[in-house]
Each structure stands twice: as structure tokens, then as C-alpha cells.
Subunit: 150 residues, 4 copies
């Protein structure tokens, strides 16, 4: 599946006294791209939350390559890399379109929970959501197999 | 009533590329001092929210004097300046203890609401909270009268 | 002059435990719309800063009407309301396009400074920037006169 | 070496619509504790920056265990885990003192750079800073050996 990357410019208030985007803001940018991805998949967060589901973050890993600066345009490419029916993981690349440099590589993991933050297995209760994530994770595997054959 | 001011140092992530604390962060600092004030008055926010009350912000006014910089220590003096049984207003002074300069003068107004953000009149339902705020606003008037007499 | 308003959706991380966009974030949204306005006027912040000019904020006033919630689309209309050759002021309206409600009315004031934050009078040193702001403030007056005649 | 942990309460504006501290804020809390650690080591960031050194972040890893909620008191224990004369790494534990639960485990890596973000080897130019970090990393190894013997 080919999903258009998430794009915007770096805000002034995202910079710090080093003159670069503060490293904490990339964690927020990853979230923006995740929300954007889910909307593009026909599964907007607001709909997911309307079903009584929450998607807390279990882990975040960020490697900083070349800093974004104020007003730099960037795009985030975000892919589902794993799904076990409850937890899922994502990979990200943040590319600085102004300089052409890779800004950040990152990954996050998440789980679906109810409103008291208790994990929920999707297959029975939310088969539609299950199917979307299962397929995304599968596509990913096929992409990798394809890659391995070369 | 003499309440100790709220104090802390400016965080690195609060700075922007001008090398000063970003102006939006003072609005957050005001909130910190408000929360601190209410705890010191024996009325912690968590208790207020436990009663099903929320305290959204109706307005914020900030005048920026001399910017805080990274690691500057500051104190916030926060006073109740008005209360009508539902709405209340506060005045603030943020002083930079590192430089001795006034950083910010500010005021905010608020109202008590239920969880659907519908305004609540405190007098009947929450007489204890009513009394605390009424007295704070009254003290304030007396302070002013005292001041006027001079 | 008719300048397209600034638009985006509210981010998840902008919400607070009341389930609404935290009031401090509007101050950041105003900045985003200011940066956007200046780019649309042919005077991007990066260019202004490249000339050694900074534009610190002198004051911010925000009146909160109806809160934005996660993923609500909003637009910000931002206009220059005054300019004296060094200081300028702006008015803002943040409209929630998802609900059709006015979210926030606001105003800010600013001054042009050098990199040590010393005020700079634009007319001699930066006549081009002077002209743009003078014209914006003038248009504004004409709009008002027009309005007064009705 | 026994250094007192960094402590504070969770701010209201750090919460999100799930009612918990937004995951991005822990990255900021880690920075706060880093700044605090360096001050306690006699090497405040302001002094380091006064020498023309910057300390950008190379990577951040955060594992979220039990969320902090508004006003929860927490402490951060932060330790140097490696140092090669230019890069260093840190480990963190954020403990919720209100609930007694582990909130977050994290690690970050950093390097010393000049003001253009070019890496700097400390040994020759900044032997004092070199010594502090070398000793911290060594203590760490000894602690581990001690641990291994058991």
C-alpha cells in the first residue's frame, strides 16, 4: 500500500536555544504522523476513541541525525511493522525537505486498551480494526520477503 | 493572607531560538502557580476535580517585560482579584530571581463548571469552596482599601 | 488585502485531561498564524531573522469562547491593527471549522529588535519592511473608516 | 557516588485527553533530570554552554510502564552509563512517588559539540569536564562489577 507521507513546516516554538527543533518535539511529530496515517487508512483516531478504545504508547525510540530548523519543511513516512492482535509497532523516517537530509529515524510500539487502560484483543470485539492492522503488518512482511529475494 | 510564592528554574526545553523562554510557556507557568496556590489554600485541584468541578480558563493577559533565560530562577506571586460565586480572576507577577527583574505581569479569569463545562454556582452546592474564594477576594478588597487610605 | 486564513487540525498532544485543547496552545497557534501571515506577505520570518531582526512578543491577550477538541479543524484570521515604525499589533480570530463556533479571540503586540533584543526603528534601516507594515496598518484604518461610514 | 534524585509533581498542562501525562513530556522530564544531575556534579549546563560547548541528543529510548497522572509526585534517578571522551550515555528511572509504581525506564545518548554542532573531544580542550564524566562512567563499571560478583 502506498500512503502519502505526512508533511508540515517546523514551528518557531518548536526550536530551542541551540537554534534547532527541540528533540522532544519529534515525539509529538511522530504522533501527528500516526494520527494522519490512521485517518488515511479510514480509521481516524476519533472513530477509534468513539468505540471506547485508547492507544497508549508502550515505547519510543528516536535516533537524531540532522536537526530540523525553524520553518524547514519535513515529511514523515510511517509504516506498521508488527501486530499481534493487541500490540502493534511502527517505524518512522523524518526527512527534511528543505535540506534533503534525514532528520530522524524512529520506532514506537502501542497497544489497544479500553478506557481504563486495560489491553483489548481486537479480533473478536473489533474485527474491522483487526483486519486493517493485520493486513498492514502482512503487507510489510511481503515487502520484506520481496526485498529478501532480490 | 500571606502565601509563599511559587518558585522554580526555567527549563532548557522552554527556550526558543531567540535564546529566551518562549512566550507561550509563561501561560503554563501561570497555571503551575495557580495549582500551587490552590494546594496552599487547602483546596488542591485534584480535590476540586474529585468533586466533579472543572476550572477552565476564560481569558489570559500577559505583558512581557524582561525575558527569562535558561536556568534563571523565578518566583510567581498570584492573587485572587475578584469572585462572583462562579467566575474568579487572578493577578500574577513573575519575578526573575537571577537578575532581579520583573519578567511578566499577567491576569487570568476562570469559572467553575461541571464535567460537561457548564458553569456551576458554588454557594449552595460547594459552600466550602465558595467561602475560600469569597474570603480571598474580600481580603483583596481590604488590602486595596488599606492601600487607598494611605 | 485578502489573505487566506491559516488552517490545521488540533493535535492529540495539544489536549489536556479536560479533553479540550489546553489554553496555552492557542498562544502557539497564534504564532503559527503570524508566521504564516508574514510568509504570505512576502516577508518570511526566516528572511526577517536573516536581516538580524527579531520580533519578540510584548503582550498577548486571549479570550476563550468554545474549546477546540482533538482533530477539530480550525482556521485563524490574523490582521495587523497598528504600527508605529517599531511596534505593531495584531488581532486574531480562531474559528472551529468542525463545529462552526468561534474558539478564541486574541490580540498580540510586538516590536522589531536587533539580536540583543534592543528595539529597532524600521524606516531608515529596513524601508521595505516598514512599507509592508505601514500599508497593512493603513489598510486596516481604511477598512475601519469604511466600516464607520455604514 | 550518591546523588539525590530529581523530584517534582506532574503539571496539569502535561496531561492529555487520556487523563495521563502525555508520553512526549517524559522526554522533557529526562532533560530536566539531566540538567539537575549536571548542576549537582558541579558542572551546570550554563557553565558548559559558557565554554562554547553544546550537548545535543543523539538518541532517546523510553519504555512506558505506569502512567503519571496530574499532580503525581515523581522522582527521576539518572546515571552515566558510558563515556568515550566525546559521547556519553545515560540511564533513567522515573518513579511515581504517589503510587509507588515505576512510570518509565529510559536511556539517552549525547555528544559534546561546538556551537556549530561539530563534535568535540574533551580530553585536551576540557580536561576538567573529561575527568568528571570519565569518573562517572568508571564508577558505573565498578558498580556493575560489584553487582556481577554477587
Amino acid at each position: 500500500m502506498d500512503i502519502a507521507p505526512y508533511k508540515r513546516h517546523a514551528y518557531y516554538y518548536e526550536t530551542d536555544k541551540m537554534g534547532i527543533v527541540h528533540h522532544s518535539n519529534y515525539v509529538r511529530i511522530l504522533e501527528e504522523s500516526r494520527v494522519d496515517l490512521m485517518a488515511k487508512l479510514g480509521l481516524p483516531f476519533t472513530k477509534v476513541e468513539g468505540l471506547g478504545l485508547m492507544i497508549p504508547v508502550l515505547s519510543v525510540n528516536v535516533e537524531y541525525k540532522f536537526p530540523l530548523r525553524f520553518d524547514d519543511e519535513f515529511e514523515v513516512r510511517c509504516r506498521v511493522t508488527g501486530f499481534n492482535g493487541c500490540k502493534f509497532s511502527l517505524d518512522y523516517e523524518v526527512n527534511n525537505l528543505t535540506t534533503g537530509k534525514l532528520a530522524v529515524k524512529a520506532s514506537t510500539s502501542h497497544c489497544f486498551t479500553d478506557e481504563r487502560l486495560v489491553p483489548v484483543r481486537l479480533k473478536k470485539k473489533f474485527p474491522e480494526i483487526y483486519e486493517i492492522f493485520a493486513q498492514l503488518a502482512d503487507n510489510r512482511k511481503e515487502d520484506q520477503n520481496e526485498y529478501d529475494k532480490r
